[in-house]
Every structure is written in C-alpha cells, then in structure tokens.
Symmetry: C2
Subunit: 680 residues, 2 copies
C-alpha cells in the first residue's frame, strides 16, 4: 500500500501524464500499461521507463479494473469547465460518484490515475477535491489550493511565457521573481479600472471560488443543505457589494449601478488578459455595449431566454411583496421574519433547495450564464464562456458587481418588508460601550493605513511540460497595517456577549452625511467574536489579524508543503479553510488625505446570539462569511445584524440608532501610494 | 570570419537568447558578455557556458561597439508589431538603417546578435529580413519563411500546447503530426464560416504578407517606387475579391457586400483563436455589431477620425469623377487612361507615392487600422490590434473582404470612366482560337476537380523554450487535381502572342446568365504566358502548376534547409519568391454537382503586350499578382486586361465580347468532399 498522501501528487502539473515525475521529490506513478491513455499506449514502454528512471521513487498503482468513464469523456480534455453549466455539473457528479464509490484509498488512487489522463483537467481537479473532502478515509488529506494547479486562472497571461523562459534558461538559484504589473488589464482611461486592484485580487477570487466550492447550489442534498446556506449566499454577496462600494467611494466613484435593464447595452467592458492553459485559449473579452442575448448552446446543454429571467424576477418580486412563496405542489410557503431570507436565497441563487425551481427559475446563475456568453450566445463561434461564467474568475469583471447589486437589491426589498428591530432587540441592558479606539501598528490612533504590498507565489506546480524548479511570480496587492481594537465596556454583571464590529464611510458620494437607511448597506463587517465581560470596567483588545471574516494571507496562498494548518484532523478541512475574505482586503483602500469613516462597535445580548454547539477546531476563523464546516452558523441573529433591516421609525441617522451597548468612533483610512517589497 | 549563413540562425526560435543552440546542428552564438541583455548579464558565465557545452559549434561574434538602439527599444519585447502602425514603421526603419549601415557581414552578425535579444522579436525579424534583402553582400542568403519563426500567426492556438507536450514527452521518432481541425474558428451556424477554409488558408495569408513585404507603402523611395505598384495594389486586391466571390458562389452565398456605411454596426464577427506567442496574448476577437470608432491611441501614435476617412473618400471620388487629382502644390494631375489607375492605387492605399497624402489621406490603411481597434479605440483596455491590423493575419477576418470590396468598387468607378476597349484593342488579326479544353489528371475533360488535402508543416523552429526536434502540424486545405490546358490556335503567320486565361462562374447567385459588365468582375486570372505561334495550326499545352499567378505548394511552406530554389544568385530572392497565390487555391472550391464556369482564353497581340526587358531568372513565376523583382511589370496592358474595363457599347454578354482570338469553353468545378492524407 502506498503512502496515502501520494494521491495529492495527482494535483501537480495537471496536464502532464501521471507517469512523469511529480512534486519536489520527483515521484512518478507506476502506471500500468493498460491504464495509459490512447496517445501513450503505443509508446508506453519507452515513456514509462524513461520517466521512471528520472523519478526518485515509483508509486505503485494497483491494477484494478477501472470503471467505464462513459459520458465524463464527453467534455474534451482541452475545454474549459464551469459549475454554472448544467452538463459540466452532471459530468463532475458522475466522476465524484466513482471516486466516492471505491473501497479504499488504494483503489481510489488507481481509479484516479486511470481517470486523470483521460478526463478534462479542471473537471478532474474539482471531482477529486470534492471526493477527498467527503470520503471518510481521506479526511486527513490536505488538498492543495487551486492556484497551484491552475495559476492561469489568477495571473496575467504574460507571466507564463516568462516563467517558461526562466525555467529553461536560468539556473534555479538565480531566478528572480517575475513581476506582474499592477495595471495590466486596463488603464485609467477606463474609469472602472480604478477598482481593478480589488476585482483582480488573487485572494478575493480564491475566496469566491472556495465559497462556491463549499456551498454548491447543486449536488447531493446532504452536501447542499448546509445550515442557512441561502441566507449566507445573500449575506456574503451583500458584503461583497458593500465592500466594493466602499472601494468605489475610496476612489472617488459613485456606488455601483444595478444592472436592471437587461435589453440595454452594457457600457463597461472587460478584457481579462487571462489564458486558459488547459483549453489553450484566452478567456473571451466582453467589449463595450453588448446586450444580453438568448442563449442556445447545444454542446453545453443550455437554452435560456432573457424573457425567462424576467418572468422569474417578477415571480420572485411577487413572493417578496406577498410574503408568500409557493412550492412545487402549490402550497404557500411564508417568508418568515427569520427564515424567509434563507428561503429567498435558495430561490434566487438558485440552489436545489429552492421551493420551486421551475416556477422561480434560476435567476442569479442564469445572469452569470447569459452574461458569460454575450459574445457567442449560440456557440456559432465555438467560444467558451467569459470570466463571469466561472466562480474562480467571475469577480474580475465589473459587470459581476452590477449584477450582484441587482441581486442584493432584491434581497433588500425583502428585508424592507420585515419588522424593524426594536430598541429591545438591539440593546443589551447593563452593558455600555464607553469608548472604542484603534491602535495602528506604527501609526496614529484611529487612522487606518493602507498601501501596496508585493508578494510572491510559486507557479511551478501548475506549469506543465517545462523544466522543474520553483518559478515565483511577484504581484502587487492592497495591504493595511495591522491594528488593534481597544474597546472599553462597562457591565453591571459578569456576562458573555458578542462583539460586532462594522465600518462604513462617513459620508456619501457628495460628501453629505448619510441617512442610516442608506448607510446601513455600506457597513462592512470587520469582526465578530464572543466576549466575556466581568462586572465593571472591561477593556477588550482584539487584533485585526484575528478577524472573523478573513483568513490569513499565508493560507490564501498556501503551498502544498508549507504553511499548512498544523495538527492532525484539521488537515482535512483545507478546502473549507480556504474560504475566507483575504486578509489583505480587510480594510478598503481609503484616500491619500484619509477617508472619513465610522467604526461601529456593538456588544449584543448573548441570549439572542448563542448557538449551542462546540464550534472549536480549525477553520472557524472566517465564519462570518463562510460558516463552519459541518456545524451550524455560529450566530443565531440574522446575518448582517444589526444593519440587515431598515432602521426603526424615528431613526434617520446612525447616531439616533445607537443604544448604550453600541458606540461609533470616527476613524479614517489613509492610503499611502507606495509599494512595499515582499516581506520575506 | 564565420560562415555567412549563420546569420540566418538568428531567425530560429526568435525568443530564445542567441547563446542557446540554434538550428538542426545546434550551433550557438558565442555572445560577448557585454552583448548580453540586462536579464542575462548577471548570470552570463553560467548560461553561456552551460548552453555553449550543449552546442555542436560556437559561432564567433566579433566584438564591435554596438550602435545605440535608442527609441527602437520603445516597442516592448512582449508587444505585437504591425507595419500599419506609423510608429512601428518608424522603429523598423531605424533598425533597418542600422543593419544596412554596417561595413560587412561580420559586423552585421555582431550588431544583429546584439539587437536580437533586446528588441521586439517581430520587429527584429522584419528589419533583418529587409536588410538581408537589400544589402549587396547578403544577396546570396535565403531568408526563411515567416511561418517558421512565427507559426502562431497562422495556426490554431491549441496546437502549441500539444506541440509542447509532444516535444517534452514523446521521443522524436514516435511523434505523430498534430492535427488542426478544419473548422476551429467557428461552426456552420455562422454563415460566413463557410469561407473559413479560404480566409484562413495558410498559403493565402503568407502570400498577403509577402505581397506587402515586397510592396511596402512606406519606406525609402527607392524601395517603394516599384513599377506600377499602385496599379498592382488595385489589381492584386481586385483579384482577391473576385476569387472570394467565386468561392462564395461555390458555397451558395451571394457576393460580398461592400462596407459602405461606416456608422452602422458590422454584423459579421470573427474570433481568430490565434495566440501571439511573442505578446503572450490572444489576438483580439471582433464581436458582432460593433461600430467603427475614432481611434486615439497615444502609445501607438495614432489619432484618426472616422470623419477623416469620409473626407478622404469624397475627395477621391471627386478626383475620379473629374479625371483630375491635385498634388501638394495644387497642380492638376490627370488620371490618364493607362497611368491613372497607378496614381489612384497609390492615393487610395495610400503609399508615399500618393500625389497628396494630406489631401487624399490614407484611406485603405486607415480602414484596416480603425477596424483593427474597434474593440479598444482609445487603448483604455491596453488591447492590441486585431487580425486585420497585420498583413500576416488580415485575410482571416470576413470584414477584410467587405472593406476591400469597397476599395475595389472605388477603383471600378474609375475604370468605368475610361474609354471601352474597341474591337481593335482586343483582337489579334490573323489569330483564331479554335478550341480550348482542359485535361484533368485522372478525371473527365473540362471538369476541374477539387477536394480537401492534408499537409504537414514543422513547427519546431518557432517554438521557444522547449526541447528540440521536429514537431509537425497537420492542417487541411483546399486542393485541386493538376490539369492541362489544350488550346488550338490558327495563325496566318509566325508570331508571338500572350495567352491570357481567366475563369468565371457561368451564372450569378440566382442562376441567371451574367451581363458581362458584372461578370467581368468575377473573372479570376488563371494564367498568362507568352506563346510562339507558327503559321497554321498550333496546339498550346500548358500545365496548371506553371500558372503565372501561383507559386508551388513547396515554396509556400518551404523550410530553411529544404525545397529552397536551386541555383546561386536566385537564392537572394526568396522573400520576393514567397509572394504568389498559393497553388492549392488556384481553383475555387466549386460544388459537389459541379459549378458551371466559363473558361476564357485569349491570345492577345504581342505589340500591345510586350515589355522590352530580360525577365529571365527565378521568382518570375507568380508575376501576374507580384511582378518581378527589380524589373518592370512584364505586361504592358492594363492589369486585368481585357476585363478591367466596362465592355464596349452593344456588348452585353461574354459571347458578344469575343473576337476571333478569344474563346470560351464551358467547364465545371466539381468538389469532392473527401480529405486526402498527406502525399509524402
């Protein structure tokens, strides 16, 4: 029996045949002759012995009769793959079933080796990841981040030729990191490009990919039906829009315009400048002034009309307005105060949990699909989907935010129908937040600091058919100085509570103070954590790095062999752990003169917050946007509380909203337009 | 002193540094340390000794002080390059001047080695090609075809990853050719795709590239001012449109629609699916329904309005209508019966020979530029030009033909103002063509046969940074069976004459017989050659392979070391020799049931034809479309004679047009929808 971890080597250099040496130790799989793909069968002896000799070790592969792959092979090897496409989901499901169905890890290795060089590499990666995540006997395996297998989904296409040059010509010790320019997709002539640093942030896109990996909208019901997944769909994306708008205000731009008129041309273009190395095609661009088209693509099994979307939208509005949805059998399903948003989330996305997927359709996903095929709606040009059609790349395109601003507005319509929070639902008698301050590392109090940071990532595991050895890419991303909240709280008795920290710009685009009904949508969650208060004076200290929305930078970019979460059982959870807002984007960019903001802190009443479960373990550190694996969402309140609803009557401003367990501190975000070299 | 031919190795693997082994014999240049690019200076010893050891031979490079490259370096290494862009032309001119200015071949080698790894690879290739073509001491060098250096301009992008796999994994003897699917850019849902086999034909695009290389519109006057170059611009492109329309009729499509309304959306899209390996970017697509925009791209030094084009067009129409152009000093230049078309050609294209480039502008070139930037007119998205912006790729896009149909119509307006040919200008007293027949190899008389043919081309010289050894690509192109004209001619005395052979469809799109004023524009030239007639009965036999419009297949795809033109001094002429319609497209596709055509044969009066020059030598075998290097165009008649003008009064049909020295034979073109394997 071979070391179980060897199976992870199948993620390495995804297009190189399994008989070629893999990983730093150059192990090669001893592929049985009958497992070789048709291409290599005729020269099997030659290649397996040649590469076997180069290998440090040959990993035995047991010769079981491999299962027929059938229609899984219908997706060509050199094709793109997206879970938005029903046919792709179905094929992935088949392969997952095969991987879940084998008896033990040895057989899994055999079947995976057999499948790997036959099926599409993206599909293989996805199916094997899901299988390892769900098989009982592979819970201790730690699936590598997708960026290591497919760096081409995250990096300027120009990088790869340079990497190839370096790998071929420059001795490993002498290689310098290849710099990706910060502005490679557009120039400042394009207003929307000012946000490219956010949209194209690698960590942001990895977060989004992981989120949808953890919360698939279609799979076995046991996988989909996670606690409050519909509500989390709403909330995570609501926060994306709030954060995007915050960045827009930081850049002197107005909030994003909802994409409402689906017959109108779309002004903002996007040229991703990404290649798909598996498909050997560039990702299609979306040029200016295209209009949504009805999509009819036989090869992808997709036939969708723009009018379908309009009907679904109107039915969903009807449900919101009436407070009642209907299910497949025509039964009325009330959209209740607390659970309604979850029902609506599943209906809008939609997931298989939708109360009636025929009637309410597949609104959000269809938007992604229609936009992603806007350049070739009937497949006449044999073009694949554009970036918005793949959760790994969707957040790069400005239209993503216009689409989700529409989706979010729909949820907000529903939130607008709910009872407002009363003072009693907000306050926490006996608890007074007396002061809040932020100590910024090496800086002034209450002045958050942002800047450009360069970091390096190793490409080499994703670069097929080139010489070995690390090749680093150096990219530039937003970063902030670490900071610490200092919160003084008076309590009249010992108690627990939940500390909720949000941040919003202090004024709107015109510099006017906000009405809270608008500002509430601008609040981004910075942190949420349990506090234990003693009677009397308490000082709560909390470091920014511990935020409940983020995962640390090292985990975002984590390598197969380094910076893995320590410890035994937790290793299983990586693909869950990979979900989390990237720490480097915790704080929006701000402005050189300092963007005035309001930091909101609340200690909420634990009685309304508490979930009775043991939530200890790893990978619960980004639970605000990602939940916790196999656990309930660790906060009983509606997500976004206390800003998820319209403020109570008589409350027009944030000041008026405050109860004594809340406090607002003016802070500012100062952006320093300087680029710092990597911090090795 | 090193072997002069070594300089040709600089065309090999254009992005690999000069110190890496080149060519089949793996020779490496002994690059002096101070010549290394900044990237490699710090590790110069390591890399030069490592690759020097791998080399079979080190080519000495003399250490002269290299000239400053100055602004030539402003074009980034990883950028596209096009002669349509004024700035690129200027930079190329600088480098050509440097290459022309050095004393001897040894110094040229040194300077070229120095420049090669610093300047843009496309620019370097072009400048060195031109220099070798024009230096007296390099007339015996034979520049390799551009497809060997830059196969990515001619082949499906998917090929290159497969080639990399094969070069890395498959032993050289076991490599199978990589097949490019015949239909990779679109499907038959797109009506225009039916013509893809023509537009994407490799030989066609190589011809176009060579034509513009031989007839640049801007360079030293001595290079541009070739005999009748303006007229040849008109005629070569007129024939392209005639041939394209012939193909369209073969495919049940109507003639191409002129692109006239420059404010209207362009219906036909084109997705080239080509990568630029130098720029590491895909060639931009042109999606449906885009409109021309004013172009303002500082980086390219281009600022052009659509309205400029309209003014130029209208001024050119004014000149045509009045029969008078004006030059820079305001002088009237008559557009004479025989020379007017040459003046007009230079004015429309435009070349530096234009009588007033400020007033008449740069109509044809600007059309290429504006269309090529339709997706990013102000460079906000940092996108390069699309395929129509480079003469190596322009003919792939359907809009090329709509644009040139407009350009051609403009020339035809002028032709419409000229006196009609009288019978005396057409006939050849004493000469009677009695019969014409076509003997088709292995087929029926007068039934031309077309089919699909596969051929292989070796990619390996253009594949940077991968293991050595040939990697062949197998592509599918139109082909026809070889055939022979048999022409019986009666002459009343011994004489010379020019045999002119044209072919046109017999009916229009509706199956109606043509009016000659329309059909004349459909005639494609098949051959033109001098005949020597004896008194009495003559039988002229002529093989299709000897056509004066084509070059043989082998020359189109010719390799550095094989199938070069034989003989000493002729070697110099390759880049001229590379110009010529590809033999495989001599005959349009026809139809499975046989497309009825009319074969027109004329023996014209030598007195009106003859040019007194010695036109012997190589590379005069495609003179109809390409002329002859350093010689006069070898036919005194207006190009396209006798079909270049509106028929004389009273002549409505081809039959009525005929004088006794002409004859029409009904033939048909039968297309066999079968694909033949390569004919090794």
């Amino acid at each position: 029996m071979s070391d179980k971890k060897n199976i992870l080597l199948l993620f390495d250099r995804p297009q190189e045949p399994a008989f070629m040496p893999k990983g730093d130790q150059k192990k090669a799989f001893a592929v049985p002759p009958e497992y070789l793909s048709e291409k290599y069968k005729p020269i099997g002896n030659q290649v397996t012995s040649r590469f076997g000799e180069e290998a440090s070790e040959r990993i035995p592969v047991s010769r079981i009769t491999p299962p027929p792959l059938g229609e899984i092979l219908e997706l060509p090897r050199d094709s793109n793959f997206s879970l938005f496409i029903p046919k792709h989901r179905r094929l992935a499901g088949r392969l997952i079933d095969i991987f879940l169905g084998v008896r033990n890890v040895d057989d899994l290795l055999s079947v995976a080796v057999y499948a790997r060089d036959r099926v599409n590499a993206y599909l293989f990666n996805y199916a094997l990841s899901v299988a390892l995540l769900h098989r009982a006997d592979t819970q201790d395996l730690d699936v590598p981040s997708i960026i290591h297998s497919f760096p081409d989904k995250y990096l300027d296409s120009k990088v790869f030729a340079k990497a190839r040059e370096d790998a071929t010509v420059v001795p490993e010790g002498s290689r310098l990191p290849i710099e990706v320019p910060k502005d490679y997709t557009a120039s400042d002539l394009e207003a929307e490009h000012r946000l490219a640093y956010f949209r194209e942030d690698i960590g942001l896109n990895l977060h989004h990919w992981h989120w949808h990996l953890v919360y698939p909208f279609e799979a076995a019901r046991s996988i989909v039906a996670k606690d409050r997944r519909g509500e989390l769909f709403y909330y995570m994306h609501q926060q994306v829009i709030a954060r995007y708008n915050f960045e827009r205000l930081s850049n002197g731009m107005k909030r994003v315009t909802r994409f409402l008129d689906w017959d109108a041309p779309i002004d903002e273009a996007y040229f991703p400048k990404l290649d798909s190395l598996v498909a050997s095609r560039a990702w299609p661009a979306r040029v200016s002034n295209q209009r949504l088209q009805n999509v009819n693509r036989e090869a992808d099994g997709i036939k969708l009309d723009v009018d379908d979307m309009k009907r679904w939208r109107d039915r969903i509005y009807d449900a919101i307005q009436s407070g009642m949805a209907r299910d497949r059998s025509g039964r009325q399903i009330p959209l209740t105060e607390n659970e309604g948003i979850d029902i609506l989330g599943n209906m809008v996305e939609s997931s298989i949990l939708s109360v009636d997927r025929d009637f309410y359709g597949d609104l959000h996903n269809t938007g992604h699909i229609l936009i992603s095929y806007i350049h070739d709606p009937d497949h006449r040009h044999l073009e694949s989907f554009s970036t918005i059609g793949d959760s790994a790349t969707a957040m790069r395109d400005p239209i993503f935010y216009r689409w989700h601003a529409f989706i979010d507005d729909l949820f907000q319509r529903f939130k607008g129908t709910l009872p407002r929070y009363s003072e009693n639902q907000l306050n926490n008698p006996g608890v007074t937040v007396q002061s809040v301050n932020v100590d910024v590392q090496g800086g002034q109090q209450n002045v958050l600091q942002t800047f450009w940071q360069q970091s390096d990532v190793d490409l080499s595991r994703g670069m097929d058919f080139q010489p070995r050895g690390s090749v680093f890419v150096r990219f530039t991303h937003l970063q902030h100085r670490a900071f610490t909240y200092k919160i003084n709280v008076q309590s009249n008795q010992p108690r627990e509570g939940t500390c909720r920290i949000f941040l919003a710009p202090k004024t709107d685009e015109r510099g006017n103070p906000w009405l809270l009904r608008d500002q509430r949508l601008m609040f981004i969650e910075l942190d949420k954590f349990k506090v234990v208060l003693k009677q009397g004076q308490n000082t709560i200290t909390r470091n920014s790095i511990d935020s409940s929305v983020t995962i640390p930078f090292e985990r975002t970019y984590r390598d197969l062999d380094t910076s893995r979460p320590q410890g035994g059982e937790q290793l299983s959870q990586f693909n869950f752990c990979g979900c989390g807002w990237p720490d480097n984007l915790l704080i929006p960019k701000g402005t050189p003169e300092g963007l005035p903001c309001q930091l909101f802190v609340m200690i909420s009443n634990i009685e309304g917050d508490r979930i009775n479960q043991d939530a200890s373990g790893q990978c619960n550190d980004a639970d605000s946007y990602c939940g916790i694996k196999d656990k309930l969402y660790p906060d009983r309140r509606s997500m976004g509380y206390p800003f998820d609803r319209v403020p109570r009557d008589g409350v027009d401003t944030l000041e008026q909203f405050l109860t004594s367990n809340m406090r607002v501190q003016d802070v500012s975000i100062q952006f320093q337009n300087r680029t710092f070299k990597p911090r090795n």
